[in-house]
């Protein structure tokens, strides 16, 4: 822990206890009380223009004893809770809290007494007009001595993200998955020896903290009452602050020999990752820590054609599940980048792909898109097309007549009103990967469609057909199917029907 003087030098957030020369007797009592205080006397400062003070103030700087950061990844939002030990005299005790050059939301700063709660009371909070990043608390104390206070506030500029490194074995049957969390501090403040908690989840915010941080409190106060109420961040206050219980003191710093544990707990709609012990992330730095490492996670390879999800290409995927069977499942996998490598027989790494993936809940599947595999040729060949069951509409009348190929009747006063487009396709797949591949194809068709095939297709949804097959190594095959689409007057539905061939 830094000393009080070094805190002054590094930190932009300061708490001062002020001793105003209001009366001779008060000055004397102040002197008596300060003699007993273990505080470091930080400075004798002039606070020009402060309503409460005269020209000369005496102040002390109670140092930060503990600090806890609760960092959200869905918004630029961090809840900071810090405790400081403050000595009070009987009567009114002005406290000044300032946060120059930081990104703290002034409307979020709160003071709470952790002990002597019956003896101390916050009378009022003043935001001076001339100094936007500062406030005064007026605390009335019924006792003389030290009390622990907790100051909490929201700041922007501290963020975290997860990332993953996946190393598949040479056979691509198993992979080692390592998950990291990385904390970025651009808040303007050094938080030394902080307990760090990372919240996985989407919190509701109606205003950006970064915007509020740049706004004088007088303007924040002009926001509508409802917006202010909303802004109170119900979700976080109720779900996180209340549930967390007492603020535990950081553990004694011993030289660790193992990466720190990241304790994962569910809380309401969120998941909280608490990093064991304390961390120091100076302003401007970022720090990456191990979240978990899973070895030999079973993976399955599948090749997929799903244009809506992966674009118009056949892609290779590693499939796994975030469950116990896969040696995972102890925690959700927060949004993050997965960097996939493939280990060679010699133990070197081959880079495969990087993919940004969304949150994977416990028990949910985790599928990594590795992109196109050039050793699998994928070509859709349209072999033939025919227009069938043509229907003519007589001019001037609501009369339709289906053409019969064997009994043509020429009628110049009619036009085509409906027909069936019949298309014969060959889906060519050539596998030169060195091993058999499992293939899954989804194609969507709009209109009144019949899908004819011997590929045992299934309907994935109203308009989408799915089929799967296996292609042996070295095989160059064409998967045949036909698509019949009713057009014009014949089209009565918008759905695909499957017919075996």
């Amino acid at each position: 822990m830094a000393s009080g003087s070094s805190l002054v030098a590094r930190s932009a957030i300061l708490l001062w206890t002020l001793y105003s020369p209001t009366s001779h007797s008060e000055k004397r009592s102040m002197k008596t009380s300060t003699e007993n205080l273990p505080f470091v006397l930080a400075a004798l400062l002039v606070f020009a223009g402060v309503a409460r003070a005269e020209n000369v103030d005496l102040s002390t700087v109670p140092k930060r004893d503990t600090v806890q950061l609760t960092i959200y990844n869905s918004e630029d939002l961090t809840l900071v809770r810090e405790t400081r030990s403050v000595s009070f005299k009987k009567g009114d005790n002005p406290l000044q809290f300032s946060w120059v050059n930081t990104r703290i939301d002034p409307s979020s700063v709160e003071l709470r007494f952790l002990d002597h709660t019956d003896d101390v009371e916050l009378l009022d909070t003043t935001f001076p007009h001339a100094k936007p990043q500062m406030l005064y608390w007026n605390v009335r104390s019924e006792f003389v001595g030290r009390a622990t206070i907790e100051i909490s506030y929201f700041t922007s500029g501290i963020t975290w993200s997860a990332d993953y490194v996946m190393i598949a074995n040479p056979q691509e049957t198993k992979a080692d998955l390592t998950s990291y969390v990385r904390v970025f501090n651009q808040s303007g403040e050094d938080y030394e020896d902080a307990q760090v908690r990372l919240v996985v989840g989407v919190v509701n915010l109606v205003e950006k903290i970064a915007e509020l941080a740049n706004m004088p409190m007088s303007q924040v106060g002009q926001l509508g009452a409802k917006r202010r109420k909303d802004y109170a961040l119900r979700a976080m206050r109720e779900s996180v602050s209340n549930a967390e219980g007492a603020f535990s003191a950081p553990m004694a710093a011993a030289a660790p020999s193992e990466p720190k544990q990241v304790i994962k707990e569910g809380l309401s709609e969120y998941f909280i990752f608490t990093i064991d012990g304390t961390e120091t992330v100076p302003n401007g730095w970022s720090k990456r820590m191990l979240s978990f490492a899973a070895e030999d996670v079973p993976i399955k390879i599948q090749y997929r054609y799903r244009p809506q999800e992966y674009g118009d290409q056949l892609v290779k995927l590693y499939l796994m599940a975030n469950d116990k069977e896969s040696d995972l499942g102890s925690t959700p996998l927060p949004d993050g980048v997965y960097r996939t490598f493939h280990a060679t027989e010699g133990g070197s790494l081959r880079y495969v792909a990087a993919e940004e993936k969304k949150y994977v809940a416990i028990g949910d599947k985790c599928e990594l898109n590795l992109g196109q595999d050039k050793d699998v040729i994928w070509e859709l060949i349209t072999r033939r097309t025919a227009r069938e069951k043509l229907v003519m509409k007589m001019h001037g009348a609501d009369v339709y007549r289906e053409l019969d190929g064997d009994n043509l009747q020429i009628d110049v006063r009619s036009s085509v009103a409906g027909w069936q487009d019949h298309v014969w396709y060959g889906q060519r797949v050539a596998n030169a990967t060195g091993k058999p591949i499992e293939l899954e194809v989804r194609r969507a068709y709009s209109g009144d469609v019949t899908f004819l095939s011997g590929l045992n297709p299934t309907r994935h949804d109203n308009n989408t057909v799915q089929y799967t097959t296996t292609v042996a190594n070295g095989q160059d095959i064409e998967l045949d199917y036909e698509v019949v689409t009713k057009q014009g007057w014949l089209s009565k539905q918008n759905r695909v029907e499957i017919q075996a061939k």
């Binding site: 990332d163 490194v165 030289a255 660790p256 020999s257 193992e258 990466p259 720190k260 961390e279 992330v281 302003n283 401007g284 730095w285 970022s286 720090k287 990456r288 820590m289 191990l290 980048v337 960097r339 490598f341 133990g347 070197s348 790494l349 081959r350 880079y351 495969v352 990087a354 050039k374 050793d375 699998v376 040729i377 060949i381 349209t382 072999r383 033939r384 097309t385 025919a386 227009r387 043509l390 003519m392 053409l403 043509l408 009747q409 020429i410 009628d411 110049v412 006063r413 009619s414 036009s415 085509v416 027909w419 487009d421 298309v423 050539a430 030169a432 070295g474 160059d476």
Partner: protein
């Protein structure tokens, strides 16, 4: 964190420093710094868009917490891709965390060690500005029956880092160890395949290859070498990557002549690479629309019977096979009918190509035929005339 900026003194652009910290302090002013050198470097250029460098270093560690600094200058290392792996240590070594200082190309690993001693670690990262291209040089025999295919890789090192003893993998062929200096481009032969049988093709297609003389309706006839990437054709061990292919032919007098060049697409094992070499001027193909007949079926519904005529002369002194491709959407436009609908077509019985339609190569929008052309007899070329009659059905 006080770290000593000594990378410049060493002239290295990527530097590993191990800082041995006195016990129980992270703010020490006195530091012992060791500089583990690279024992082995592997450069993997097998990915299309990324180059992975993996370096192995023996890192001396003291019991307790160690600070391992990794910094780089003027190189495009992607710090988000750096992976630190302990591959050999006789005691427990763990990476506790990684810190990224502001405004610097560096990071600091906090590593705990159960004992004092050395650990072998591998650090891998993606490095920009180190790229590769492939190229081919093929020399065909005088009779154009076989060719010798040489495969080259060209590694362009603009990464501001020299790789003196790096093992380089380019994805195909064997690993090679050649020094690649700063800003150097190195070209290496990575494969040589003799006696690869050549398949020569001559193809006409009025859309894809256009006309060589439009007023005379004379089609351009490009000649291709088709290389089959399989063992039957003395290849097929690995894919042939995308690259420029330059084709030469032995002239029979101990030298060779340049025939032409083309981009070769990535060719998986079992697939074929088709290289356009040049235009065959000794094969004349005149294409004309010989006849169009509209047949009303009902109301506004028509069939069109179209006959395309090909007059072909081979002035070469050897017989060749000509591939004729007829794009049908284009043909429908030529007869004045424009439509978004796919072409429904059938081959008419007036078609004269002896082998009929090549069903394997034909598509919904392309009919493919073949014509075997006899060699020129003396100074006379026999003109052969073929017809493709096609019925374009159900148009309106």
């Amino acid at each position: 964190m006080n770290r000593i900026p000594i990378r410049r003194l060493l002239g290295l652009s990527a530097l590993l420093i191990v800082v041995v910290l006195p016990a129980a302090t992270a703010q020490a002013r006195i530091k012992l710094i060791t500089l583990p050198v690279r024992d082995r470097v592997e450069v993997r250029l097998d990915h299309d868009n990324a180059t992975l460098v993996e370096e192995q270093r023996e890192v001396p560690l003291v019991q307790g917490e160690n600070q391992v600094d990794f910094s780089w200058a003027n190189t495009a290392i992607d710090p988000n891709t750096i992976v630190f792996r302990v591959v050999k240590a006789d005691f427990d070594v763990n990476v506790l965390s990684v810190s990224y200082p502001p405004g610097e190309n560096s990071l600091v690993w906090q590593v705990s060690s159960a004992k004092s001693g050395s650990a072998i670690v591998r650090i891998s990262y993606l490095l920009g500005n180190l790229s590769k291209t492939f190229s081919y040089r093929a020399v065909a025999g005088h009779d154009e029956k076989v060719l010798t295919l040489r495969q080259y890789v060209r590694v362009n090192n603009s990464a501001n880092e020299s790789f003196d003893t790096a093992n380089v993998h380019v994805g195909i062929g064997d690993t090679f160890t050649r020094p690649i200096g700063l800003s150097e481009t190195k070209e290496l032969l990575i494969g040589k395949f003799p006696n690869v049988p050549i398949v020569k093709t001559y193809t006409v297609n009025p859309v894809e290859f256009n006309y060589i003389d439009r007023p005379m309706n004379k089609l351009r006839v490009p000649m291709h070498y088709v290389i089959h990437n399989d063992q039957r054709h003395e290849l097929g061990t690995e894919a042939l990557p995308f690259g420029k292919a330059r084709i030469f032919q032995e002239d029979g007098r101990g030298s060779s002549a340049f025939l032409g060049e083309d981009w070769g697409d990535y060719t998986a094992v079992g697939d074929t690479m088709k290289l356009a070499i040049g235009v065959a001027r000794d094969i004349n193909v005149v294409r004309t629309i010989d006849k169009v007949e509209n047949k009303r079926i009902a109301g506004n519904l028509f069939n069109y019977e179209v006959t395309v005529k090909y007059e072909i002369e081979n002035f070469k002194d050897q017989a060749v096979r000509l591939d004729l491709e007829e794009p049908l959407v284009h043909l429908r436009q030529e007869i004045g009918h424009h439509s978004d609908r796919p072409v429904q077509w059938d081959v008419g019985d007036q078609t004269t190509f002896p082998g009929g339609l090549d069903k394997k190569e034909s598509r919904v929008d392309k009919a493919v035929f073949h014509a075997d052309l006899p060699a020129r007899a003396g100074d006379k070329a026999e003109k052969s005339t073929h017809y493709f009659q096609v019925i374009l059905r159900n148009e309106w």
